[in-house]
């Protein structure tokens, strides 16, 4: 292994260094093709990469990072590019390290109930592999057919069933990561009294290094599952029903609400689920456990829905019917493409008790900016996804979308909530961090990041505000500063 010497940024020499060990078919430099990597699930922003590398192993990732560091070139890991906060958008003409070819489930240990995987494994493929052993990978983002577990780790992703089972971070046993200086290390459970390095890494959005292998926890598949669907005459009634369910002490596996516009879009799509078109909102509840527990919970949920004058109530026990009810929820974002070509999915969190009131304020924001706003949310966690439909080609519309987004985030924070439930900060909410962290806290975060990534090359311009990173295409940002004094990574993590 060549020792790393840090130099001024030089993309051409980087290319030459890469060509020594990577076949040309796995280095993308064609400008048109590169530009396809200029955005992710958040199409509000675009920035083309300097190049794209299709990597196939942990060793290759390590070598690629070392090459980038020694030529002063910033880099961004990428899974499936479904992130909704612009995390995989390569600011500063960073090079994209695409990990989607690293898609093997290496081992499933049914006794330990763990799976060892490569980071490019698609979430649903992992769950299917686990299912073959009677197990399950619990975090189930609605993008689970497409998104990678590496991306889930980076964003600490959630999903409908995380209400009961916890977000991604609860399911990570250990990680092998390539740190931003090109060294490789294993992050595992800490010895007593020490900080948990896994907790630091999960949710770090590619800024603290690249996960090249993970051991994740699996859980038993539940004895029985029941999905319930209730429809309501108003969105507020659906929200109140959720509060009643929780107040009654029930702990369903999932509690999801979709509003009328979303219902309409979904029902017009291949994901149609049979949601009633006359409802203002539908509530999806999933109960899991023993048959007895399920009966008890159904009674609680049904009573709560009746108390809120639900229009209809439906239950499904067999997998096919349950899958149908979930289809609509999982296809909801995509189906909004029927309304407009771009969608901005927000991700605020508010205290559950204030759901109805916050939704009402958010609806007004949409109206005031003359935007089509729809709502899908993880009601159990108070995690809102107000969706703004727009056309990114129209700068005036984009400005209105950004202004509305800003107001919505402020409303969530004011209501005692926070910026992100599961999509991460990325580029989208970077400049809102000061709403929830004071200057001192932000400085600490920045110090930590500088300690792990002294050259500032790992996913630059994301998460922490500070003016680094340029979104405009064609504009070169400042080169990654190599001058920051580094504290040893081990000191920070150990």
């Amino acid at each position: 292994m060549t020792p790393i010497r840090r130099r001024r940024r030089d993309d051409r020499r980087l290319l030459r260094a890469l060509e020594r060990w990577l076949p040309p078919s796995r280095i993308i430099r064609d400008p048109g093709e590169c530009a396809l990597y200029d955005t992710d699930g958040l199409t509000l922003h675009r920035a083309p990469p300097g190049g794209v590398l299709l990597l196939e192993s942990a060793d290759e990732v390590e070598e690629a990072v070392r090459c980038c560091v020694s030529h002063g070139v910033p880099f961004v890991p990428r899974g499936a590019g479904t992130g909704l906060s612009g995390g995989a958008i390569p600011l500063d003409h960073a090079w994209v390290l695409d990990l989607s070819r690293m898609d093997r489930v290496l081992e499933i240990d049914p006794l330990e109930r763990t799976a060892r995987i490569e980071p490019g494994v698609v979430n649903l493929d992992l769950d299917r592999a686990a299912a073959a052993q009677g197990l399950r990978y619990a975090p189930d983002p609605s993008s689970q057919r497409a998104c990678t577990v590496g991306g889930n780790i980076a964003e600490n992703s959630g999903g409908p069933h995380c209400f009961r089972h916890g977000m991604t971070t609860r399911h990570i046993e250990s990680l092998e990561v390539v740190l931003p200086d090109g060294t490789r290390t294993i992050l595992a459970a800490p010895s007593p009294g020490r900080a948990d390095p896994r907790g630091l890494f999960v949710g770090s959005e590619g800024t603290l290094g690249i996960a090249v292998e993970a051991t994740v926890a699996l859980v038993a598949r539940p004895e029985a599952v029941r999905t319930q669907l209730a429809s309501f005459p108003s969105l507020a009634a659906a929200c109140r029903a959720v509060s009643r369910v929780i107040a009654a002490g029930a702990r369903p596996a999932a509690l999801e609400i979709l509003d009328r516009l979303t219902i309409k879009a979904v029902e017009a799509s291949v994901f149609r689920a049979g949601y009633p078109l006359d409802a203002e909102a539908v509530l999806l509840v999933e109960a899991e456990g023993s048959a007895e527990e399920i009966e008890q919970e159904t009674a609680v949920v049904q009573a709560a829905c009746e108390a809120e004058a639900a229009l209809a109530f439906e239950t499904a026990d067999d997998p096919v019917a349950r899958e149908r009810l979930w289809r609509g929820r999982k296809g909801a974002f995509g189906a909004m493409g029927r309304v407009a070509r771009d969608l901005y999915v927000l991700d605020g969190v508010v205290p559950r008790t204030r759901l109805a009131e916050v939704i009402e304020r958010i609806t007004k924001v949409g109206e005031r900016h003359d935007l089509v706003l729809s709502n899908v949310f993880h009601a159990g966690d108070g995690n809102l996804h107000p969706n703004l439909s727009f056309d990114a080609r129209d700068p005036e519309q984009c400005a209105r979308v950004l202004a509305a987004g800003d107001e919505i985030l402020r409303i969530c924070v004011e209501a005692g909530g926070t910026l992100s439930g599961e999509h991460g900060i990325g580029l989208e909410k970077r400049d809102h961090m000061h709403l929830v962290f004071d200057a001192g806290e932000l400085a600490t975060q920045e110090r930590l990041r500088a300690a792990v990534d002294p050259a500032g090359l790992a996913n630059p311009g994301k998460v922490i505000p500070g003016g680094r990173g340029c979104v405009e295409a064609g504009h070169r940002g400042p080169p990654g500063s190599g001058e920051r004094t580094a504290r040893r990574i081990e000191e920070v993590l150990g």
Binding site: I28, D30, P31, G32, E33, A35, L36, Y37, T39, D40, G41, T43, V52, L54, A80, G81, T82, D98, S100, R101, V122, L124, S143, R145, A146, C147, V266, A268, S269, V270, F271, G331, A332, F333, G334, A335, M336, G337, R338, A340, R341, D342, L343, D391, R393, A473
Partner: protein
């Protein structure tokens, strides 16, 4: 130039990624549906030049349409590719594109020329070893056209007619599965339909996918007029590619819409009457490999699957990963031989993973040829059109050579 129709339907959600066969191989953005649409948009909006990388990604699309079934936003990749290829077709002059266009314009579109072409191909195929021509069909599949004999009505089960049905012969389909067409005629006739068989001729499906849209429209209209001439109640198309094309009219011509409305396939038509138990059930298991254009175009796989279940003793299983194209994809195997072969190998792996079931059913000429070639070295394996198996189960196969 006006915007490509349907280009605005994509929200970049990525839910189509896992079903795209070319992405499964390459894992590059230019090789998946989201990237293809982004490429078309970038070119149209002037954000990108049509660089070789982008064009290759667009050319490599199989138009298998798996992404259409996966997309919550309702994109039409077929529509986009047809339009894109039509707009760029004249500017393309690479050998393979030119050869493909010649084949589609001059050979396929005219039954007489196709016959002569196949005659030469058949000769070549018998002289040259299979190893040199791995993707080409065996000589038995390149028979010259036979007179279409309307089936004898003697074996009819009932005297009451179930309606008039006309069968499409097609062009390539007519050579590859002419026997199947005659078997379908026997089956339908046996169960009380008044059956006629159309004159041979191309429906324009292949031309449509290669962007020869005007020619495709013209041919489909010609076919429609011919098919409608006997005022049939049902138009039966047992080649999924043709069925899918006739299902989606290329213009407002009333004939095209009449065909789309009455279009069906033998299993779907049989499903409307309810079949008695077959006297000679097919010993199972049978693996069903639904053609892409049946899964995502006509969306009529359920009827075929039910028919197979009805006539099979034992299990009917779906090919694992059935939404992934086998790589034949119309003329794709000529235009992109390497990629096509790679997809074929993957399809074969899925067949192996699915338990190496000895009877494989698939209802499209391209898929039949592809699977025959993929499984030709596997002892005791039969690749058959569902119609053939059904005819066998009802004792009607031996009457047909």
């Amino acid at each position: 130039m006006s915007a490509l129709p349907g280009l605005d339907d994509c929200v970049h959600c990525g839910l189509c990624l896992p079903v795209c066969p070319t992405y499964a191989i390459d894992r590059r953005e230019s090789q998946n549906p989201r990237g293809r649409i982004a490429a078309l948009r970038a070119i149209e909006e002037g954000r990108s030049a049509p660089t070789p990388g982008l064009l290759r990604g667009l050319d490599d699309c199989l138009v298998c349409r798996a992404c259409e079934s996966a997309c919550p936003s309702g994109i039409s990749m077929e529509g986009l590719m047809m339009e894109h290829r039509s707009r760029t077709s004249d500017a393309r002059s690479d050998g393979r594109t030119v050869a493909e266009r010649w084949f589609l314009r001059a050979v396929v579109s005219s039954p007489g020329v196709l016959d002569r072409f196949l005659g030469v191909a058949r000769l070549g195929r018998s002289l040259l070893p299979a190893a040199l021509l791995p993707d080409t069909p065996g000589p038995s599949r390149l028979r010259p056209a036979r007179a279409a004999s309307p089936p004898a009505a003697t074996s009819r089960l009932s005297t009451e007619t179930k309606g008039r049905a006309v069968l499409l012969r097609g062009c390539i389909a007519d050579r590859v599965q002419d026997r199947e067409t005659r078997l379908a005629a026997r089956l339908l006739s046996h169960f009380g339909f008044e059956v006629s068989i159309s004159a041979p001729g191309c429906c324009g499906a292949l031309q449509r996918h290669s962007g020869l849209v005007d020619l495709a429209r013209e041919l489909s209209l010609e076919r429609a007029r011919d098919l409608l001439s006997g005022e049939p109640d049902a138009i039966v198309v047992d080649s999924a590619g043709c069925g899918s094309a006739l299902h989606e009219p290329l213009s407002d011509a009333p004939e095209l819409h009449a065909v789309a409305e009455r279009g069906t396939d033998t299993p779907s038509l049989l499903a409307t009457i309810g079949l008695p138990p077959p006297p000679h059930p097919i010993p199972g298991p049978v693996v069903f490999a639904p053609p892409c254009h049946q899964s995502h175009g006509t969306r009529s796989t359920e009827a075929t699957r039910s028919l197979l279940e009805h006539i099979t003793e034992g299990e009917v299983v779906l090919l694992p990963g059935e939404e992934q194209c086998c790589g034949a994809a119309g003329t794709y195997f000529l235009r992109r031989p390497a990629k096509s072969r790679q997809l074929g190998e993957r399809a074969k792996e899925r067949w192996e993973r699915g338990g190496r079931v000895k009877t494989l059913a698939t209802g499209n000429p391209g898929c039949l040829l592809r699977w025959e070639s993929l499984l030709r070295r596997e002892p005791g394996v039969e690749v058959a059109h569902p119609v053939t198996l059904a005819a066998r189960a009802y004792g009607l196969e031996s009457e047909e050579r």
